[in-house]
């Protein structure tokens, strides 16, 4: 493979991806807030910090909301999946080493075996999500081709990372694929349904405030 291409995706492209990710998400948040100001400013008259946080926290506590108890398997998988999704990329030793090389900074790392298992878990969870999409009628009815693509996009960096780490298949190729798919995912987050990382809590905050502040009722 072209050496300069590899250099590009390992160097500048990393920066670009992070920039798109951060600027994209911040921009999106700001845009939403400005749009609310412009078109639906009433939202601010109902939004309260107390009820927003109350609702978001309630929905972060495993098996606290009733809905999570009626779908225990899905939520269990979903909790573990999201935990892995955050922990592995942020606290993987080999990622920290990269951070160290570029910025001379370092932070706590995950034990490699734990990281390995979490990776397997994330991949298995994605498999479960795909299976669920295909087999549970009410989910299948809503599922579009794009939804499977999203699953694939998350799966790729984890699968390639895992294979590269264990050096089972062509190591170099795997690392390249890993970096590219990771970058792709970072870039796509602000522009796809992955942005529920931002819109999810915002939506929850508003519903939580409407329920808590106006209607004096719980929303979990």
């Amino acid at each position: 493979m072209n050496y300069s291409f590899i250099e590009f995706i390992m160097g500048p492209m990393v920066w670009v991806s992070f920039a798109v990710f951060f600027i994209g998400l911040t921009g999106k948040t700001l845009y939403i807030i400005l749009q609310i100001k412009k078109k639906e400013s009433f939202i601010f008259s109902f939004l309260t910090l107390k009820h927003s946080t109350r609702s978001i926290i309630a929905w972060l506590i495993p098996f606290f909301p009733k809905s999570t108890r009626t779908n225990p398997v899905f939520y269990m998988v979903s909790y573990l999946f999201h935990i892995g999704l955050f922990l592995v990329p942020l606290f993987l030793m080999s990622h920290i080493v990269l951070g160290n090389e570029s910025f001379q900074i370092s932070w706590v790392s995950l034990n490699d075996t734990v990281a390995d298992w979490l990776t397997v878990l994330v991949i298995m969870a994605l498999g479960y999500f795909a299976y669920r999409r295909a087999s549970v009628p009410q989910v299948r009815y809503l599922t579009t081709f794009k939804d499977y693509l999203l699953l694939l996009m998350v799966a790729l960096p984890f699968i390639t990372g895992f294979l590269a780490n264990h050096q089972v298949l062509a190591y170099k190729l795997m690392i390249i694929a890993h970096v590219i798919s990771g970058e792709l995912m970072l870039i796509m987050i602000p522009f796809t349904k992955f942005s529920h990382i931002i819109t999810g809590p915002l939506s929850r905050a508003y519903t939580g405030s409407e329920f808590g502040n106006v209607r004096h009722a719980k929303d979990w």
Binding site: F46, S55, T70, Q138, H196, S203, T207, R215, K218
Partner: protein
């Protein structure tokens, strides 16, 4: 098992919908849909559509889904797919056949009960989106006949049931006269400026259930309240326009209601046992009229009864002994958190209470709410089919009496009880209080 009409693809419709559809042309359809979806809404709608992960977790929340053997078409997000997604995909360029279905989905397959918002991990407000679809139908003039008639009545008379002004006043005076035969000095004070309470009801009370006004008068009399009822238009607190997407009329109704209270210079408004009316004056109508929160203290009957009983203004002679259960109306439990107060009142008045499950905020809608029952007889059979889940929930209580502190719920539950042969008596909480209370006579002058 009998299949519901919707599943057989013979969609129920009515003459207003059909006449309206016949008059539409593609340009108008596209224009209206784009106007509503892109101009009238904002980031909230966009966020709901973008955030929905198509996970189907909201399905379990919805009675329509459960009653129809988990048919995915009836899941909350399924209904959004069948309406909003398609409208977005086609940029508003949809057929009249599609619109016929959209009217049906938004008006007859959703009670806008918001239960699904408690099951979606993001709290996506599907009811809001169904109301948007209704708004589109309203602007295209394809609203179902019966509910549109109530809105027309609102627009022309400021009440839902074409009650004429003299009829209204006559009814109140007739109830007062009747009650005075039993209770000396009882009054239903009309237009008493400066009273503490303005009492308001929905138009079906004077039209069909005047006895409820009688009961309230007796309760007010026994409690020695300083109250009044307005004689002029604005007395009706119901608001069907809120459910047909006719936001302009909806705001107008709420505004004239508050203005009536303002003219009477009362301290607070107490309203009868109605849920949607409460939603209108507390949550929705006020917003269309420009108030974030109602400009008056609005007290729902449940809260009022609680206050009367706990302050001992009313005492219970002997508790009601039959086995009772309580239905939490969406608009005052999920809509106002009054479920615990309701239980205190039931506890103080009944000796044999059994919970239905799920309950409180999680209770299932009666199946009549959100304007569904108001779409009238053409849709009654399918409403009964869609209420199977509610019937199962009621049957499981084994109660003899079903307390439903909401007019909509009351009517809808009576239909269910009859259709599914549940052998229950449906009552308002006021009925129970009236039956069990000490009807002592207090002269307002002595109290003050």
């Amino acid at each position: 098992m009998k299949e519901n009409a919707v599943l057989q693809n013979e969609l129920n419709s009515d003459s207003a919908i059909e006449d309206g559809l016949a008059k539409l042309n593609p340009e108008r359809i596209t224009k209206v849909i784009q106007e509503v979806l892109y101009k009238e809404t904002g980031p909230r709608f966009k966020a709901y559509v973008e955030t929905c992960m198509h996970c189907g977790l909201c399905a379990d929340a919805c009675s329509y889904f459960i009653s129809n053997d988990s048919n995915p078409k009836f899941s909350p997000a399924g209904k959004v797919k069948r309406t909003v997604w398609e409208m977005i995909k086609k940029k508003g360029n949809v057929s009249t056949k599609f619109l016929r279905e959209a009217v049906h989905i938004s008006f007859l397959e959703c009670n806008v009960c918001k239960r699904c918002s408690m099951y979606c991990p993001f709290g996506i407000d599907i009811a809001y989106m169904m109301l948007l679809v209704r708004r589109i139908c309203h602007k295209l003039e394809i609203t179902p006949l019966y509910i549109q008639d109530t809105v027309n009545s609102h627009a022309a008379t400021s009440n839902q049931m074409w009650v004429k002004e003299d009829e209204w006043i006559d009814t109140l005076q007739w109830q007062e006269e009747d009650a005075r035969e039993e209770f000396k000095n009882l009054r239903i004070p009309l237009d008493k400026t400066g009273a503490d309470i303005m009492y308001s009801v929905i138009a079906p009370e004077p039209k069909f259930q005047a006895g409820l006004i009688y009961q309230t008068a007796v309760i007010m009399h026994a409690a020695g309240m300083n109250w009044t009822m307005p004689s002029n238009p604005g007395w009706d607190n119901s608001n069907m326009a809120m459910y047909t997407g006719d936001n302009e009329i909806s705001g107008r109704i709420a505004k004239s209601f508050y203005e009536t209270a303002q003219k009477l210079k009362v301290n607070k408004i107490v309203m009868g046992e109605c849920g949607h009316a409460f939603r209108s004056v507390y949550d929705m109508g006020n917003r269309w009229a420009g108030w974030a929160m109602p400009p008056f203290e609005v007290v729902h009957a449940l809260e009022f009864y609680h206050e009367l009983l706990t302050s001992k203004r009313i005492t219970i002679k002997e508790k009601y002994r039959k086995k009772v259960t309580l239905h939490d109306p969406c608009n005052v439990s999920r809509g106002r958190g009054l479920h615990d107060l309701a239980r205190i009142v039931v506890d103080m008045t009944c000796s044999n209470f059994i919970e239905m499950t799920p309950n409180r905020e999680h209770n299932y809608c009666c199946g009549a709410g959100g304007g569904v029952i108001n779409c009238g007889p053409p849709y009654k059979q399918e409403r009964m089919d869609n209420n199977r889940n509610k019937a199962d929930q009621l049957r499981a209580t084994g109660a003899d009496v079903l307390i439903a502190p909401c007019h909509n719920c009351h009517s809808g539950l009576e239909d269910i009880v009859e259709h599914y042969k549940l052998n229950m008596e449906v009552k308002f909480l006021g009925d129970i209080i009236y039956e069990t209370m000490e009807k002592k006579i207090i002269h307002p002058e002595d109290k003050q």
